[in-house]
């Protein structure tokens, strides 16, 4: 089981953590809402829970919970720029469909 990130994603996470001045790493998970079933959660982490799993990729701690992992195991995070818009992109091998805007997905 693992979640990984590309170099550019790791760099941006590190930069954000440094700017924020605190935080152990980032949490990646899912929420069961949205028009197409589920949506991703991407948050800073200040403290972990007992059941959390911690991965390390490119020197960044990625934290997730077992329930989310069932849906996003094997996901790779990338940081992309398209025009003026930039942000994190998830490549999730488990998804079967996405809603039009890509904010939510089904497995």
């Amino acid at each position: 089981m693992a979640i990984t990130m590309t170099d550019s994603a790791a760099e941006h996470v590190k930069a954000h953590l440094q700017q924020r001045g605190k935080g152990l790493g980032i949490r990646v998970g899912i929420k069961t809402t949205g028009c197409s079933g589920m949506s991703y959660v991407l948050e800073f982490v200040d403290g972990t829970n007992d059941e959390d799993q911690v991965f390390e990729s490119q020197g960044v701690k990625i934290i997730s919970d077992p329930k989310s992992l069932a849906y996003i195991d094997g996901t790779q995070m990338d940081y992309v720029k398209s025009g003026l818009n930039e942000g994190f992109e998830f490549t999730n091998p488990n998804t079967k469909g996405e809603c039009g805007c890509g904010e939510s997905f089904t497995v």
């Binding site: 949490r27 929420k31 028009c35 991703y40 994190f88």
Partner: protein, 628 residues
């Protein structure tokens, strides 16, 4: 695939519910757009990485193909195509043609008077109003934000100077509407700067916002009280800024080089060089200058000391404006809790130094002074869009000048007092002055003075169709409503008949920059005279009312109820009152009213008796008793 941003713990947005809200600083020289990203308010750059968008619009018409350029491209064309390249349009917002003319003859545009008093600028693409020009700037910023944030904007908070009046605010809102932006609220620029520093989080305090831009200087004194920012006073100089610093350096260089004056091209080049020197002197103690232009060349050294000598008189000018603003607010420099630095020119260390000395406090300048207003606006926009989980702050603003109505005798009756927090609704009841009066003119006024002639008229409308009644019987409720953007709507309703009339205030033209402050100051200076004027006007109205009532009564049954002598003495007193009314002494008029009153008491008593007699005649004592 939507690109994700990292959120604070527990604050991941629900999909499809995140609202994209922006804050826009629509400036005289430059404009910016900011938004909350990665849990942080930040300004959004364009593709080239520039955050500032020069507030310059150029209209092009190449063989019938009209197009618009906004920003640096347009600014570069100012000298090449001055008539179609419009800069500093903010100065024209909400102004009438006559105001625009007093702004200076230096404007190269061709103005056209329209029916609405709004000035239009003739360009190759047709006549453009300042509102249209502003909307072009807003369109570019909105497009940049949409592309950056990856979606449609749900709304924006746009900042305006604290001294902007209703007309200028309405013009700004119209420009946003034209650009397809939903305006959550207009926010005062100094308030936005204070929000950016989180000063609104404190319980209370008094803050000075020092805003020195490229070509304008504003000082605002704000008081935070229970989460509400009150503008205590504003001041400044609409023709003082960093450009004057550059100009001082350029003149010095010319003097050193022994040159008197140069062509406009060289002058422009010199200004650019001067700006570079100024920026280098922020970190260096001296700068080597080596200039060679078409007509002269010079090399030498400019030191920090020389620079200080050049700009100190300019900084002293801003300090004097600060002093005036403090005096208007009735405060001393030591009572200021925080000083916030806004505007690119506050990067000059000498400015910070002098201001720190004047206020006796280290100025806040951690946030980029060019961006601080936009940042504050975007924080407010995020809250208004409902993106904050806990509904923390809903910032309130206050109205800068009292709003009122004209009453009989040319008096200003205040309905909403200045510094009332907005949004607000206030109603007051008025009545008719004459018997059978069927219409009422409502004159909407703005200002602090007692007499209508000293206040500013915002609008005028009529309530018609009031059923004929005796004077004082009609009940007319006048409601003043100021929305969150400081825009006013006024309605009048006669309560017994439900006839109604209303107006949205869109005044024909605005006040000039310093007029608001002047109006406030006048209200203090002329307080005593205004009080007397009010008393006089009130006595005159009372005299008119008495004379009118008595005239009606005499015409009705004066011959029957009064002897010739009585009638004669009443007429004499009425004539005396009519003469006293012409004079300027409230006390004399009062005396004449009192005399007439006491003499007419007998007449009034007889009229009363007669009407009771009328009511009772033809009825037996028994039937009256039954009713009891």
């Amino acid at each position: 695939m939507a690109l994700l941003q990292i959120s604070e713990p527990g604050q991941s947005p629900e999909p499809h519910q995140r609202k994209l809200a922006v804050g826009i600083d629509l400036g005289t020289t430059n404009s910016l757009v900011a938004s909350m990203r990665e849990a942080k308010a930040q300004t959004l750059p364009d593709l080239a990485g520039g955050h500032l968008l020069p507030s310059v619009v150029r209209y092009l018409n190449a063989e019938g193909d009209s197009s618009v350029e906004v920003g640096q491209v347009a600014r570069d064309a100012i000298f090449e195509d001055p008539q179609n390249t419009i800069s500093s349009v903010k100065r024209l917002m909400g102004r009438g043609v006559s105001d625009v003319k007093t702004l200076g003859d230096c404007l190269p545009y061709e103005f056209i008077q329209s029916e609405t008093e709004m000035p239009y600028i003739r360009t190759v693409c047709g006549d453009k109003s300042p509102v249209e020009v502003s909307s072009e700037i807003l369109k570019v910023l909105a497009a940049r934000a949409q592309e950056t944030l990856g979606g449609d904007l749900s709304g924006a908070v746009i900042t305006v100077p604290a001294y902007f009046d209703e007309a200028q605010r309405q013009a700004t809102k119209d420009a946003a509407k034209l650009a397809g932006l939903h305006v959550y609220r207009l926010l005062n620029e100094p308030t936005a700067a204070a929000v950016a520093y989180g000063l609104d989080k404190g319980a209370e305090g008094i803050h000075a916002i020092y805003d020195l831009g490229g070509g304008t200087f504003d000082i605002s004194i704000l008081r935070l009280n229970k989460g509400v920012f009150e503008v205590l006073s504003t001041g400044g100089d609409s023709a003082l800024g960093g450009d004057d610093f550059d100009h001082a350096i350029a003149s010095w260089v010319l003097e050193q080089a022994g040159q008197e004056c140069v062509g406009s091209n060289v002058a422009r080049q010199l200004m650019e060089i001067a700006r570079g020197i100024k920026e280098q002197l922020t970190t260096n103690d001296s700068v080597d200058v080596d200039i060679s232009t078409g007509c002269f060349s010079w090399d030498g050294v400019i030191t920090k000391d020389i620079f200080h000598e050049l700009v100190d008189p300019l900084i002293a000018k801003t300090v004097r404006a600060c002093k005036r603003a403090l005096r208007d607010a009735g405060l001393s420099a030591s009572e200021i809790d925080d000083v916030v630095m806004v505007g690119g020119s506050t990067r000059v260390p000498r400015v910070r130094e002098k201001i720190a000395v004047f206020f006796g406090a280290t100025p806040l300048c951690d946030i980029d002074p060019d961006k601080v207003v936009a940042v504050g606006a975007s924080i407010q926009a995020d809250v208004l869009a409902g993106n904050k989980p806990d509904d923390e702050m809903v910032l309130l603003d206050v109205i800068p000048l009292s709003l009122g109505i004209e009453t009989m005798g040319g008096l200003m009756e205040k309905i909403i007092h200045r510094n009332t927090t907005i949004p607000v609704t206030r109603a007051q009841e008025f009545t008719t002055f004459k018997d059978g009066q069927t219409a009422l003119a409502v004159q909407v006024l703005q200002g602090e003075r007692e007499l209508v002639s000293d206040c500013r008229s915002l609008a005028r409308f009529e309530l018609r169709g009031i059923p004929p009644m005796v004077a004082g019987a009609a009940r007319i409720r006048v409601t003043y409503q100021v929305d969150a953007d400081g825009l006013l709507s006024v309605s009048a309703k006669e309560l017994t008949s439900d006839v109604e009339s209303s107006v949205q205030v869109k005044p024909s033209y605005g006040l000039s920059d310093n007029e608001v402050t002047r109006m406030l100051k006048d209200s203090f200076e002329f307080a005593e005279g205004d009080k007397d004027a009010r008393a006089l006007a009130e006595e005159r109205v009372e005299a008119d009312r008495q004379l009118e009532a008595l005239r009606c009564a005499l015409a009705e049954n004066g011959n029957v109820l009064l002897s010739d002598d009585e009638c004669k003495s009443l007429h004499e007193l009425m004539a005396a009152l009519a003469i006293a009314k012409q004079g300027d002494d409230a006390v004399v008029i009062r005396k004449a009213i009192d005399e007439l009153n006491s003499t007419s008491e007998v007449f009034a008593a007889r009229r009363m008796d007669q009407s009771i007699h009328k009511a009772l005649s033809g009825q037996s004592i028994d039937s009256l008793g039954d009713e009891e």
